[in-house]
């Protein structure tokens, strides 16, 4: 029938276009432009990589993928490995079910010896079960919910990024202890990231005998926060804690500014420390204070070298808060591969990763007894005149400027 023909033709065209443009489904990136690692198939070792490449979190996910592939490409080009390292990139779309399907696909490939992945905690937790079952090691680079690394999952699941608690306690030490804010209003999103931050920041408050004046959970795709702004204004809060991503945080900060709510501290979490936050304009963004994992890239040689290499590679997505962690994850896996000799296996990689000691951008990473990194570094950033700068070097730290609400 004519209709049926049309239907299938259109469906196939749509699917093809979707695949072409979005890169759904697996992409095989050997990452090595030189790619002269011998011709035989036995000399290929595969790694899995998971990130949200399409959908709302794709800015962060794509940048992380770029950094990961950059490290693998460099390793292939170096000639240090007697085999070619290929990366199976899975777009988890920030969705649990897609992540599980991708994980099943990765573990089914006999050449896969390890994987790294996840910006979202939900997909990370869901896929962890698959990897643990298959006894293939998974190194998490960007999902921060505390319980992802635990004794039950050890040694298969490890994480090189700090947890939500580790991040928030560093920021709490500054805004609660040093700056002494007591009247808080908490805004977080309904996703894993927001919920994790809401929980640990509330704990930090209650440790100090404080309760927030109000709290509001917003939908992850929300763009209009006028009612939340009105509530904050009405609550008399002197400080706002925003435990969410840059999309929500920048709009909230902007809408607070537009509503004239400027005499207030705006404190946040690593996810919002990207150049995108500054797009709301210097005046609206001024004074936002966030904690970031790792160390200031501009403050160390290793950090500057990474930034330079990344920019030189010509990627269109700017470096996000967790992009260096994806790069470090690749370094850790490469380090473990080196320890496994000429024919690495998943079994050997499990031990090699947990015992690894890797020096990357942020110093040396080793793992504790549940697979969590011991290299917990955090630093604070503040927006000053339309730029993110290290809090310690800012006019806020030396008292020239002051946050609102004091």
């Amino acid at each position: 029938m004519k209709n049926a023909k049309w239907f299938w033709a259109t469906l196939i065209v749509l699917l093809a276009v979707a695949l072409l443009f979005t890169g759904c489904g697996p992409q095989s990136g050997d990452g090595g432009e030189s790619g002269d690692g011998g011709g035989s198939t036995a000399s290929v070792v595969k790694l899995g990589f998971f990130a949200p490449i399409t959908g709302g979190d794709s800015a962060e996910g794509t940048a992380a993928r770029n950094a990961f592939l950059m490290a693998i490409a460099a390793a292939n080009a170096s000639g240090e490995y007697p085999y070619t390292i290929e990366t199976i990139v899975i777009d988890d779309q920030g969705t649990d079910s897609v992540a599980v399907a991708g994980a099943n696909q990765v573990v089914a490939d006999p050449a896969v010896v390890a994987a790294s992945g996840f910006w979202n905690s939900g997909p990370a937790a869901a896929a962890s079960a698959v990897f643990k079952e298959a006894e293939i090691p998974l190194l998490i680079w960007g999902a921060i919910r505390d319980d992802l690394t635990n004794a039950g999952n050890y040694p298969y699941i490890t994480r090189s990024a700090p947890t939500a608690s580790q991040e928030n306690s560093a920021s709490a030490a500054v805004v609660l202890d040093d700056l002494g804010y007591t009247d808080w209003f908490i805004v977080s999103d309904a996703g894993d990231y927001g919920q994790g931050n809401l929980e640990v920041f509330t704990q930090e408050l209650s440790k100090r005998g404080l309760t927030p004046l109000g709290s509001e959970v917003v939908q992850e795709d929300a763009t209009d926060f006028s009612a939340v702004v009105a509530k904050i204004k009405n609550s008399g809060a002197k400080a706002v804690y925003c435990g969410s991503t840059v999309e929500i945080a920048s709009l909230l900060k902007l809408q607070l500014y537009q509503a004239g709510v400027t005499d207030i501290l705006f404190a946040g979490i690593s996810g919002m420390k990207t150049p995108d936050f500054l797009k709301i304009g210097a005046e609206a963004a001024e004074g936002a204070l966030v904690v970031s994992p790792g160390v200031d890239l501009d403050s160390t040689d290793a950090g500057r070298a990474f930034t330079e290499a990344y920019n030189l590679a010509g990627y269109s997505e700017p470096i996000g808060a967790y992009t260096p962690y994806a790069y470090e994850a690749a370094l850790i896996l490469l380090n473990a591969l080196s320890a496994c000799g000429d024919a690495p296996t998943a079994e050997a990689m499990v031990d090699a990763i947990k015992d690894s000691e890797t020096t990357g951008i942020f110093g040396t990473t080793t793992f504790d007894e549940i697979g969590q990194t011991t290299n917990v570094a955090t630093y604070l950033n503040v927006v000053q005149d339309g730029k993110w700068i290290n809090y310690l070097n800012s006019e806020y730290a030396d008292g020239t400027r002051s946050f609102g609400g004091q």
Binding site: S58, A230, S250, P318
Partner: protein, 323 residues
């Protein structure tokens, strides 16, 4: 006590949010009215319009036009470009997502436009930067202004914030919405093309027998729908200031809900539906502790209530005649 100013703040927010929902909802009701199918990618078409305006602005900026030409001229030029893009996208939507399924069940165009919405979103995410920067380089050479990444949030030019005032911008948004609604009303009721579109929406078979060129009217509907959606994209962008390539899915769902509350075929219903949805959301967020988490859900509960108890919509009239 909650002060009076608080309520006024909320009402102002709800009206603005309602305006953005309304224009997307009108897209839905135009398409549904004339073709009896839900074109689910309306929100994405609007955001596509916003991004094409953003891209054109970046290119004009590189040419140094934005500072020297009168602001009004720049705005009109940008709107024209956005309208052009959305009209073409509307036509493509019809050609590839609707027309092939003309004789199949209404579910087919629904599914295919959902898929098309995803394609539009990802095309924005992937193509926005290379195309914009490529064209900017071509026309402006060394002076080219570049955008960074298509997937990161982009800042929309604040063309309506005269002197940085959001109050002026907000008034313009409401005024433009009202003007668009009036123009649409006049078009639908005072021109033959508009009457033909209404006729198709009320009785397709009779429209054919009256001598209306139905397929041509459908094409025109998509062009008009594209125009309305482009303007709504412009207003949404101006209101939000920061846009993401995937904002379209949220606006699509809200616009669709507003259209359902309004009765799907009824333009005025879409206005009331959009406003009702926005008021429910803003008031729940504003007055219920931690209400923002439930605001959208409650708004959808309103939609479900309408589907169950008043499927003909908020001002939909039951007509005696059934064909």
């Amino acid at each position: 006590m909650v002060p009076m100013g608080y309520l006024l703040d909320l009402i102002g927010s709800a009206v603005l949010l309602g305006c953005t929902y309304t224009l997307v909802a009108i897209g839905f009701s135009l398409f549904f009215g004339v073709m009896d199918v839900v074109v689910f990618c309306c929100g994405d078409i609007a955001i596509f319009g916003a991004f094409s305006i953003l891209a054109s602005y970046t290119i004009l900026n590189g040419l140094g036009v934005t500072g020297t030409w009168p602001l009004l001229l720049v705005i009109l030029l940008l709107l024209l470009i956005g309208i052009l893009f959305c009209a073409v996208l509307g036509l493509l939507t019809h050609r590839f997502s609707i027309k092939p399924f003309e004789k199949s069940s209404a579910l087919m165009p629904l599914l295919s436009t959902i898929a098309l919405g995803t394609v539009i979103r990802e095309v924005i995410g992937l193509m926005f930067m290379p195309v914009t920067n490529g064209v900017a380089d071509m026309v402006a050479g060394e002076n080219a202004v570049h955008v960074v990444s298509g997937r990161n949030p982009q800042s929309f030019p604040s063309l309506l914030s005269l002197g940085g005032s959001t109050a002026a911008r907000n008034i313009i948004i409401v005024l433009v919405t009202v003007v668009i609604l009036l123009l649409l009303f006049l078009f639908l009721n005072k021109t033959k093309t508009g009457l033909a579109m209404q006729a198709i929406s009320q009785n397709k078979e009779l429209s054919l027998m009256t001598g209306i060129n139905v397929s041509r009217s459908i094409v025109i509907t998509f062009v008009i729908g594209g125009v309305v959606l482009a303007i709504s994209g412009f207003l949404v962008g101006s209101y939000q200031t920061i846009m993401s390539f995937d904002n379209g899915s949220m606006f699509g769902i809200k616009g669709f809900s507003a259209a359902v509350v309004g009765g799907l075929r009824n333009t005025w219903g879409a206005v009331l539906g959009g406003m009702l949805l926005a008021f429910v959301e803003v008031m729940v967020s504003g007055y219920v502790p931690n209400g923002s988490a439930y605001a959208s859900i409650l708004a959808f509960v309103v939609v479900v209530i309408f589907i169950v108890f008043k499927p003909e919509g908020i001002i939909g009239e039951k007509t005696v005649e059934k064909v």
